[in-house]
Amino acid sequence: MELTGADIFVRCLADEGVEHVFGYPGGAALHIYDALYRQDKVKHILVRHEQGAAHAADGYARATGRPGVVLVTSGPGVTNTITGIATAYMDSIPLVVFSGQVATSLIGDDAFQEVDAVGISRPCVKHNFLVKDVKDLAATIKKAFYIASTGRPGPVLVDIPKDVTAHKCEYEYPRTVSMRSYSPVTDGDPAQIHQAVDLMLSAKRPMIYTGGGIVLGEASAALTELVRLLGYPCTNTLMGLGAYPATDPLFVGMLGMHGTYEANMAMHECDVLIGIGARFDDRVTGDLNKFCPHARIIHVDVDPSSISKNVPAAIPVVGASGPVINEMIRLIKASDRKPDKEALVAWWKQIGQWRAMNCLEYDRESQLIKPQYVVETLYDITGGDAYITSDVGQHQMWAAQYYKFDKPRRWINSGGLGTMGFGLPAAMGVKLAFPDATVACITGEASIQMCLQELSTCKQYDLPVKIVNLNNRYMGMVRQWQEFFYDRRYSHSYMDALPDFVKLTEAYGHIGFKIEKPGDVEGALKEAFAMKDRLVFLDFITDQTENVYPMIAAGKGQHEMHLKPCKAVVPTDRELA
């Protein structure tokens, strides 16, 4: 039987196993929305802004590992998703974005709500398609899901003109897809892995440095086995947190600009660096000329273009993290050689001395609420088992430093693009995927206002996430940089004219708490998290002068960390009033 393009679209999603679509209707997508109305397999979540749809689908994908799906209309519908698409692209998150387009006969005419969606999204998608014929629709959708979710994952956009959704053809969803121009690798080259293992076993001061590639490759269990088998220290990037259990003694914390003293010093002093599924980003390496000066570097990545991009690798291995780590484990177990015990004892002794600096210590006697204390308390009362999303800035770093993630896919943040406004819609996506899980969004008063309208979506679909607002009345990270590098000229970083978040949340039909004293933090969190079926907005009025430490200034080496929490000199609310 012949079906319309719109019906084919919906059938494709159902056959692909898609349960949820985040979207917003509009003219060019109306045939598709009509087809959605006439079925009950695919559930549509109506967001309040298309950026929210992209972030929600992204959060859904990060938590589940399955591609997130977005449906929007042409023109502003699709341009509003671009920030969300770029966010997913930078963090290699599988997303399939469907955009309506004006009819093929109108393309290029500057028609109403026409925009070149394929052109405008090109630099921030893994691939994109314009479907010009209904006969190509099903095959294109199949390809889109395949490309998004294989190899190094990423967002794929499919632009569908309105007439294509009205035309009819026979429907058959392809079972398989093969593309001559796209064949992602999985297994690494055995000879390269062999060499890598030889170097690993020769190390005196080894360091295992892993990133989001472990999470994306579902290689967390394999990594944990490898690290324990070797007894080597392990650090995770911001994107890799949870890939190795943070409470394990072999874990030395996050590395990079706001990483721990022990992680960064161990990177700087190591003689063999084993990088897996991490891309040597500038926030990790600092000054490349000072990066790991003593180390021979092994770099495992599924994307060959990540290898030797910023830092040359002595032993490159192109392959997916899981299969490569498993092969490493097999070779190590079969080898006569064992890790150098004596050297390791000395190395761990050195790391222990760095650890003893206690770089994450903060003032626990303060009369003001310390943001670190809120995150630590949140960790305690959620048993370390919540899904935590975050926005971008100081609160994001404190969440990364003080919430000890033991499992992958629990820490959901915009690492690469650094997108403020990500946290709330992402939390929505997570809660939808796991309705029984505890989901909290750690945010700040600046970030939360960027996608705040999604509180309405949370109400409509009963998504009782918890919002932990670390409200310091500043764009904290901007303020911190202005304090350090702009001679305390706090240009436009003070958040004036803030709304009453409690009343605002109540206006959306949720519950809001304002917490102003350290003594009330624990009680408020307990009360909020006990309300399983309500969204609670916790507005913590925190110490405005708090900075994120340790800190490596941009362009400095990994060993050049600011540790001493010198008291920040910033005008407080009272002085500004």
């Binding site: 394929v118 052109g119 090109r122 630099p123 893994k126 593309m179 001559r180 121009s181 273009s305």
Partner: protein, 163 residues
Amino acid sequence: MRHTISMLLENESGALSRVAGLFSARGYNIESLTVAPTEDETLSRLTLVTSGSEDVIEQITKQLNKLVDVVKLVDLTEGQHIEREMLLIKVNAGGATRDEIRRAVDKHQARILDESETTCTIELTGTSDTLDAFVTAVSRAGIIEVVRSGVSGIARGENSLRV
């Protein structure tokens, strides 16, 4: 260093813009770029001349290979290969300069395609260096227009770029 990279590309709308966009987005140089369909109408052949350090060239080839529309790629500079470029040039050829032009045409084995009272239009195919030399040779006469095709390249001997 100058590199000539040749690739087979899916013959689809937008494929070329992915290649060109990659170069502008990542700040790589393009010296020339030529593209046309092959005997297999689903494939285009693209030759691209770029320059950069070895690290940059390695990134360029990796990033190009990552594009879903790129089917196969070879850096021709890594082996023996042939490069050709075509030049169409219109020069002033009034009075005595015409003989001078003719001598240059003969010397470089170029061809005169069209003549008017005051102009002469010439075709020359060769390496980029040969073309440069010819343009210099006729420049005294006064160049009106220069049209160059950009470099096309192919490997020597039995090496080939096929699906």
